[in-house]
Amino acid sequence: GAGVSQSPSNKVTEKGKDVELRCDPISGHTALYWYRQRLGQGLEFLIYFQGNSAPDKSGLPSDRFSAERTGESVSTLTIQRTQQEDSAVYLCASSWQGGNSNEQFFGPGTRLTVL
């Protein structure tokens, strides 16, 4: 067992460009979460995937943000037309199943810097 992996670890982009962030959850984990953490701040929920159910997108801050998940594996978070305010660490987590009764395992994060 490998843990949750994320790539890239760091991404520097120019304002207005699109970026894709990738998350590989722990094998067998049906639930996958994306969070945003601004410098010195808490964890801000973005989106949640649970099995084949429709994702909970209630935390996405704008329509520039979207995410996909292929089955119960890899997920990609896409930010279009990036803005400086999007600069943050984007964390992915997975758990054996959803419902908040299982611990979440976090990946190392992707540090996004928008110039």
């Binding site: 979460y33 908040n100 611990e103």
Partner: protein, 109 residues
């Protein structure tokens, strides 16, 4: 709604005890506690699922008062390795966790 954590920050000397509180304005189904060291990902500490449930791991324990809609994390005889930011996350069985803003704990020798 985001749970409220208190205190925002605390400094301890090795061996001292600390309590971190997490309060919610909504009825709680579960409370998660995580610790994040600087520059690292959050690491799971424990989950409390029932009102009145208490759990412990070595010298870190937690309680969950469902009626008061709050949870407390107890750190006894703190060690340098306890330093970090502690987050509580609350949620129901079918809504995502909402995390508090965190409590920054610094343990000094």
């Amino acid at each position: 709604q985001q749970p409220v954590q208190s205190p925002q920050a605390v400094i301890l000397r090795e061996g001292e005890d600390a309590v971190i509180n997490c309060s919610s304005s909504k009825a709680l189904y579960s409370v998660h506690w995580y610790r994040q060291k600087h520059g690292e990902a959050p690491v799971f500490l424990m989950i409390l699922l029932k009102g009145g449930e208490q759990k412990g791991h070595e010298k870190i324990s937690a309680s969950f008062n469902e009626k008061k809609q709050q949870s407390s994390l107890y750190l006894t005889a703190s060690q340098l390795s306890y330093s970090g930011t502690y987050f509580c996350g609350t949620g129901s069985s079918n809504t995502p966790l909402v995390f508090g803003k965190g409590t920054r704990l610094s343990v000094i020798a």
